[in-house]
Symmetry: C2
Subunit: 205 residues, 2 copies
């Protein structure tokens, strides 16, 4: 398959395929001559993953490159790999100043209330802190009972996710990293739709 066939198969403009190659999101084809290379199904699949990540998931090309890099070449430690992947996911928050004795007061309190263990280095802690700070700044702080409700339901979802994790290490990384990112838009859409469903039932009942 030549580059124009690849572009057609993945349904993206040729110039965009060239752009992904240049940016290192897409692995080069195997060169068959000085001005020709051939591409295969792995390239088509890769482009589809790139579009999924930069589209619904909302990643920048830079973030997508990081995520894809982790899948292609995961470290030995699945936990550390997932940590790096979560750090690349939006919302990106900058690391706190290292001399701050309590950089995440809201997140710390919330996780304590939930009884959850966590690694303060994990990017999601800073993300939770920023999200909680935003709710307060906007005048709608997260109440304790809401935190408990959300935390409980999301832990049930997380437990389900982990039950389905493949055993083979490479597949596990791909499942975990892509599953974290790809299912998030589904979760948000389902909550928005559930609001509508619950509201309509309440009106009628």
């Amino acid at each position: 398959m030549r580059i124009s066939a690849l572009a057609a198969a993945a349904d993206v403009p040729l110039a965009t395929v060239k752009y992904y190659l240049r940016e290192g999101l897409l692995h080069p084809g195997t060169a068959t001559s000085a001005t020709q290379a051939s591409y295969d199904e792995t390239h088509v699949r890769r482009i589809r993953v790139i579009r999924a990540l930069t589209g619904p998931v909302g990643l920048s090309v830079q973030q997508a490159r990081t995520i894809l890099g982790l899948i292609d070449d995961p470290g030995v430690d699945l936990y550390a790999t997932l940590g790096r992947a979560v750090g690349a996911l939006p919302p990106s928050v900058e690391a706190p100043t290292s001399d701050d004795p309590d950089p995440f007061p809201r997140a710390r309190a919330a996780l304590a209330a939930l009884g959850q263990v966590y690694d303060p280095q994990f990017a999601a802690v800073a993300q939770l802190e920023a999200a909680l700070a935003a709710t307060e700044a906007a005048g709608m702080p997260l109440s304790d009972d809401r935190l408990l409700e959300y935390g409980r339901r999301l832990r049930e979802i997380a437990a389900f996710d982990l039950e389905r994790m493949p055993h083979e290490p490479h597949a596990a990384v791909e499942y975990t990293v892509l599953g974290t990112a790809l299912y998030e838009p589904v979760i948000l859409a389902l909550r928005r739709l559930a609001h509508q469903d619950v509201a309509s039932r309440r009106e009628l009942g």
Copy 2:
């Protein structure tokens, strides 16, 4: 309070306050002379909401303007207002061609499986369709049991949200619109952290 005091109180650059005024995200102060206007606490709060929406929630200035406009001036119909608000939230998906007999096959099947009623005009339907299409394109389609699990937990969360909705109409709009947007980053962060917590318990146990 003059404009520089407002900028200091809300902790944003003065030039940015002027930008928000120009873009219509922030209501003008009351003019006290040809070159002076005075601002109050409502302006400070508004800027905080703007920063919350354009920061952790990840809205563009354009999207934030739409959301804020709906809160300021909601229609008589809460349902329609929420629908418009959800349409302004990312991920933005374009409306399907009107002559397509079945524009949302995946979302339709998913909502049928969940037994949920929905309005096909509701933007979240198109968002769910795009999110499901992305999972398939990336080679990780959402299985039926996962859909059921996610749908059930999110409906529980949605029911909780609605229970806490204020009765006064204006407060209800603000709660619903801001609550949908502001709590989403919290939900994603909590899922990411729950993965870590559940995984660590599993290893130890």
